[in-house]
C-alpha cells in the first residue's frame, strides 16, 4: 500500500511522523518539567514554608512561655503584652500552617498542637489570675503540676509537627529528584526513538524514492528515446507538410486565377443571356406577327374552301344541266332513229327524210359525245375541286397545326425568355458567388501561407524538441547513473 504512495505523500508522512514524535517528546518534556517544577514549588512553596511557619510557631510558643514566665516572676504587665503578642504570632503562624498543610497527618498534628496550646493557655490564665491575686504559691504549684506538662506537650506536638514537615521536605526532595530523573530518562528514550525512526524513515524513503525515481528515470529514458524518434518523424513530417503547403499555395493561386476566369465568364454569360432575352422577346413578337399572318392565311383558306365548295355545287349543277342535255340528245337520237326507221318504212318517199333523220341522229350523237366530254371535264373539275378542298382542308389543318405550333413556339419563346431570365439571374449569382469564392480563396491562400509559416516554425520547434529530447536522454542517463551509484553506496 505504501509502495503506491507518491513522493510528496511519503515525504509528508515521514515528516509528519517525525513532527509527531518531536511534538510527543516536547509534550513529555514539558510535562516532566512541569511535574518537576510543581514538585519543586510544592517543596519550596509549601513544605519549606510550613517548616518555617512551624519554626515560627515554635518560636512564638517559646516567646509565649517566656512572657508567661516573666510575668510570673516580675508581675509586670509588659509581659502580659508580650504574651498576647506571642499568642497572636502563634495564632498567625498556626493559621498559615493550617492553610499550608495538605495532608491529614499534618492536620491531625496541628489539631493536637492547637488543643495542647488551648489547654496550656487556659492553665496559664488561671495561673496568671492566681499570680495577680498574689497567690504565688498556689500559682507555683499549679505551674509545676499543670503548666509544665502542658507546656511540654505543646512543645512535643510542635516538635513532632516540625519533624513531620522535615520528613515531608525530604520526601519532596527525593520525589522531585525522582521525577526529574524519570523525565530525563523518558526524554532520552524518546530522542533515541526519534533518531532510530528518523534513520529508518530516511532509509525507507531513500530506498523507495530511489526505486521509484529509478523506474521514472527508466521511463524518462525510454520516453526521451521515443520523443527523439517522434521528434525526428515530426520534423520530417513537417518538412513534407511545408512542401505540401507550398504546393497547396501554388494550387490555390491557380484556383484563384481560375475563379477570376469563371467570374469573367459568368459576366459574359450574363451579357449573352440578356442579349438572348432581347432576341427571345423579338422572336416572340415575330412569332405573334407570324401567328397573325397565319390567322389571315387560315381565313383565306376558309374562303378558298367556301369558294371551292360553291364551285363543286356549280359543277354539280353543270352536271345536272349536262344530264338534261344528254337526255335531250338521247331523246333526239331516239327520235332520229325512229325517224330513220319510219323513213325506211316509207320507201323511196322517205329517203330524204331518212337523210334528215340520219343527220339529226349524228348531230345528237355528236352532242352526246360533247356532253360526255363536258361531263368528263366537269368530273375532272369536280375531282380537282375535291382534291383542292381536300388539299385546302389539309392546308387548313396544317395552318391550324402551324397556329398550334406557333402557340407552342410562343410558349416556348416565353419559356425561353423565362429560362434566359433565370439563366441571367443564375449567371449573376454565379458571378457574385465566384467573387465571394475569390475572396474566400484569397483568405484561404493567406491562411495557407500562415499555415506554411507555422509548419516551418513547427519544423524548427521540432528540431528544438529533438535537441531537448537528446538533452533529456543525457540528463536521464546521468540521473540513472547517479541513482545507481547511490544504490551501490
Amino acid at each position: 500500500m505504501i509502495g503506491s504512495w507518491t513522493f510528496q505523500r511519503k515525504v509528508t508522512a515521514g515528516f509528519a511522523v517525525m513532527v509527531g514524535l518531536a511534538a510527543l517528546t516536547a509534550a513529555i518534556a514539558v510535562y516532566a518539567l512541569q511535574t518537576v517544577v510543581a514538585s519543586k514549588d510544592r517543596l519550596l512553596g509549601v513544605n519549606v514554608h510550613n517548616l518555617a511557619n512551624a519554626e515560627k510557631l515554635q518560636a512564638a510558643s517559646n516567646e509565649h512561655v517566656a512572657a508567661f514566665r516573666g510575668f510570673l516572676l516580675l508581675m509586670e504587665n509588659r509581659f502580659l503584652d508580650q504574651r498576647r503578642s506571642a499568642a497572636q504570632a502563634f495564632e498567625e503562624s498556626f493559621r498559615r500552617l493550617d492553610q499550608g498543610v495538605y495532608t491529614p497527618e499534618g492536620h491531625r498534628l496541628l489539631s493536637d498542637i492547637q488543643k495542647a496550646q488551648v489547654e496550656f493557655t487556659a492553665v496559664q490564665e488561671r495561673i496568671i489570675l492566681l499570680r495577680k491575686a498574689k497567690n504565688g504559691l498556689q500559682a507555683t504549684i499549679q505551674v509545676e503540676q499543670e503548666a509544665v506538662p502542658r507546656r511540654e506537650r505543646v512543645a512535643a506536638t510542635i516538635q513532632a509537627f516540625i519533624e513531620r514537615e522535615q520528613n515531608l521536605l525530604d520526601e519532596g526532595k527525593r520525589d522531585s529528584t525522582a521525577r526529574a530523573s524519570m523525565a530525563s530518562t523518558l526524554l532520552v528514550c524518546l530522542a533515541a526513538s526519534m533518531v532510530v525512526f528518523a534513520a529508518a524513515t530516511a532509509v525507507f524513503l531513500g530506498r523507495s524514492l530511489s526505486k521509484q525515481i529509478g523506474l521514472a528515470v527508466q521511463h524518462v529514458q525510454s520516453s526521451s528515446a521515443e520523443l527523439q524518434t517522434s521528434a525526428n518523424q515530426q520534423a520530417s513530417g513537417l518538412k513534407e507538410a511545408a512542401t505540401a503547403m507550398n504546393e497547396i499555395t501554388t494550387t490555390v493561386s491557380e484556383l484563384l486565377a481560375t475563379s477570376r476566369q469563371i467570374a469573367d465568364s459568368a459576366q459574359q454569360v450574363a451579357r449573352i443571356a440578356e442579349d438572348t432575352a432581347k432576341a427571345a422577346r423579338g422572336g416572340d413578337e415575330t412569332v405573334l406577327q407570324s401567328q397573325e399572318s397565319m390567322e389571315g392565311i387560315r381565313r383565306q383558306v376558309d374562303l378558298v374552301v367556301t369558294h371551292m365548295l360553291n364551285l363543286g355545287q356549280k359543277s354539280q349543277q353543270i352536271g345536272g344541266v349536262l344530264d338534261i342535255i344528254n337526255e335531250l340528245a338521247e331523246q333526239t337520237n331516239i327520235l332520229s332513229i325512229n325517224a330513220t326507221i319510219e323513213a325506211a318504212g316509207a320507201g323511196e318517199h322517205g329517203k330524204r327524210f331518212a337523210v334528215v333523220g340520219e343527220e339529226i341522229r349524228k348531230l345528237a350523237d355528236r352532242v352526246s359525245g360533247s356532253t360526255k366530254e363536258i361531263r368528263a371535264l366537269v368530273e375532272e373539275v369536280r375531282t380537282a375541286v375535291h382534291t383542292t378542298i381536300l388539299a385546302t382542308e389539309t392546308g387548313s389543318k396544317a395552318v391550324d397545326a402551324g397556329l398550334h405550333r406557333f402557340e407552342e413556339v410562343t410558349r416556348g419563346f416565353k419559356e425561353i425568355a423565362g429560362m434566359v431570365g433565370t439563366t441571367t439571374q443564375a449567371a449573376r449569382e454565379i458571378g457574385l458567388s465566384t467573387k465571394q469564392q475569390m475572396t474566400a480563396v484569397e483568405q484561404v491562400n493567406t491562411a495557407i501561407s500562415g499555415a506554411a509559416q507555422a509548419s516551418r516554425e513547427a519544423e524548427a520547434s521540432s528540431t528544438q524538441t529533438l535537441q531537448t529530447a537528446t538533452q533529456l536522454a543525457q540528463l536521464s542517463h546521468n540521473l540513472s547513473r547517479l541513482i545507481q551509484s547511490r544504490t551501490a553506496v
Binding site: 337520237n333 331516239i334 332513229i337 325512229n338 330513220t340 326507221i341 319510219e342 325506211a344 318504212g345 329517203k351 330524204r352 337523210v355 340520219e358 343527220e359 341522229r361 349524228k362 348531230l363 350523237d365 355528236r366 352532242v367 360533247s370
Partner: protein
C-alpha cells in the same frame, strides 16, 4: 371564262358544217352505206337493221304478267297502245345482265311486240362481212364496225318464233318482208 367561246365555237361550227355538208351529198351515194343500230344484250353487242323494226324507245315501266312463256317480261305502254315485252337475252339464250333491260325494240305487225335489251350503243354504217346465216340462232349476218364484229339479229325470225310460241297467226306478206 373568256376561253369558252374560243373553245366552244369551233366545235359548234364543226357540227353545223357537218350537218350542212350532209345535205349537199347526193342521195344515191348513201345507198351502199346503210346503217345498222347497235345494241347490247346482257354483255354482248349486236346489230339490228332499222328496216326490220318499227321503233326504238326507252323502256319505262314494264308491268309483269303471268304467262307460260318464261321470256315474257310483261306489258308496257308505248305510243298509246299496250304491247307485250319479251326479254331479248332470254330469247337469244344469253344469261341476263346485271342491270336488267332498259330499252325496247318495237317489232312491226298487227300485234306489235316489244323486245327488251340492256343498252343502245348508237347507229352506224357497218362493213358487211358475209351474207350467210350465222351459226347462232336468230343471227342473220355479221358486220364490222370499227374493230369490233357484231352479229346482225334476225328480228322477223325472232318475232315469228314468239308468235309461234304464243299461238299468234301472222299474215304472209309481213313474213316475206
Amino acid at each position: 371564262m373568256s376561253e369558252d367561246p374560243i373553245v366552244a365555237m369551233p366545235t359548234l361550227a364543226k357540227f353545223r358544217a357537218a350537218f350542212d355538208h350532209s345535205f349537199s351529198v347526193p342521195a344515191d351515194s348513201r345507198k351502199d352505206r346503210e346503217s345498222v343500230i347497235q345494241i347490247r344484250v346482257a354483255s354482248e353487242g349486236f346489230a339490228v337493221l332499222p328496216g326490220q323494226i318499227a321503233g326504238l324507245a326507252k323502256a319505262r315501266k314494264i308491268v309483269p304478267l303471268p304467262s307460260r312463256i318464261p321470256e315474257l317480261l310483261g306489258v308496257a305502254a308505248l305510243r298509246g297502245s299496250l304491247i307485250p315485252v319479251y326479254d331479248l337475252a332470254a330469247l337469244l339464250g344469253i344469261p341476263p345482265g346485271v342491270s336488267g333491260p332498259s330499252w325496247l325494240l318495237l317489232v312491226p305487225g298487227d300485234t306489235p311486240i316489244g323486245l327488251a335489251f340492256d343498252g343502245f350503243e348508237g347507229q352506224q354504217a357497218p362493213e358487211w362481212l358475209s351474207q350467210e346465216q350465222g351459226a347462232r340462232q336468230h343471227v342473220r349476218q355479221l358486220v364490222r364496225i370499227g374493230s369490233a364484229v357484231r352479229a346482225v339479229l334476225d328480228i322477223p325470225g325472232i318475232a315469228e318464233a314468239i308468235r309461234k310460241r304464243a299461238g299468234i297467226a301472222e299474215p304472209a306478206k309481213e313474213r316475206e318482208q
